[in-house]
């Protein structure tokens, strides 16, 4: 476990609140489509923030199992990263926090067209579960 002498509590709380908000959003969008969804606690470790808990989601769309997994607040070139992937095929998309908004990218870092919203979530979930 990483121990941090003076971690920035404000940054950590803001990041945890953003992850909580993202998880709640995805839960709502999934439930409205009758997709099974389960919430788990992920433990993350970062040099700057130490160890902390964040929500991770397991979604079953009927076509496949998807995972929404926070990675880190401190990343190169943006303000946070969450992985969104298919548990079976490991096809992966990346949600990046940049300019106070979530932006979706493909595995090869090509920006997903459009803003992060319910429609984008559904389209990306379908893309991840399409063979």
């Amino acid at each position: 476990m990483i121990q941090v002498a003076h971690r920035n509590e404000a940054v950590l709380h803001e990041w945890q609140a953003l992850l909580e908000q993202l998880a709640a959003e995805i839960e709502g969008w999934s439930k409205s489509r009758n997709w099974a969804i389960a919430r788990h606690k992920a433990v993350l470790e970062e040099s700057e923030l130490g160890s902390y808990e964040a929500p991770s989601l397991h979604i079953h769309t009927g076509k496949g199992a998807l995972i929404v997994e926070p990675v880190a607040r401190h990343i190169v070139g943006a303000d946070g990263r969450v992985n969104f992937y298919n548990l079976g095929s490991f096809k992966r998309l990346v949600l990046i926090r940049r300019d106070n908004a979530w932006k979706l990218f493909t595995e090869d870092r090509v920006p997903w067209p459009g803003e992060w919203n319910e429609q984008t979530f559904v389209q990306s979930a379908e893309a991840l579960t399409t063979p």
Partner: protein, 150 residues
């Protein structure tokens, strides 16, 4: 060019180290069992012991060289750059190219670089030390965020 071909080159260095380490350990065991071997080899026990101890240093330098070569290939091939930046800048520049890797990963790659410098240059002290396997894990993790093909 595929990223996995570059990663294989780092794996090959690990394999070579394990083979050499195994051979060196066997040699040491043979010397323990038959001290006359020392005379036949015309070496001192301390020299052999020191050689075995330093084996990992040698392979960390080689591992980092394979990592640097991979980064330069990615720099020119995937990112279409014609410059030849120092390796410190090369690490930062490739990390900054929309990889979205964690800052901990970037820091770990620099720590391995500093450790390699401390092995190569007498006065370059490093706060961190790494086993070859640890160094390889950090460097491969860094490379895993690069484009897969170009």
């Amino acid at each position: 060019m595929r990223l996995k071909d570059l990663l294989k080159k780092l794996d090959l260095v690990s394999v070579e180290y394990r083979v050499c380490r195994l051979a060196a350990d066997r040699l040491w065991l043979s010397i323990e069992q038959d001290p006359t071997l020392i005379i036949q080899l015309q070496m001192k026990r301390a020299e052999i012991r020191e050689t075995i101890r330093r084996l990992e240093y040698t392979y960390i330098v080689r591992m980092f060289a394979a990592f640097e070569a991979a980064l330069r290939e990615i720099w020119t091939g995937a990112f279409r750059r014609k410059t030849e930046p120092p390796v410190r800048d090369l690490i930062d520049a490739t990390a900054a190219a929309n990889t979205f890797m964690t800052t901990d990963m970037l820091r770990a790659a620099h720590q391995v670089r500093e450790y390699r410098n401390s092995i190569v240059h007498v006065n370059a002290l490093s706060e961190n030390t790494f086993s070859l396997l640890e160094a390889a894990a950090h460097l491969k993790e860094f490379l895993s965020f690069m484009p897969r093909q170009w």
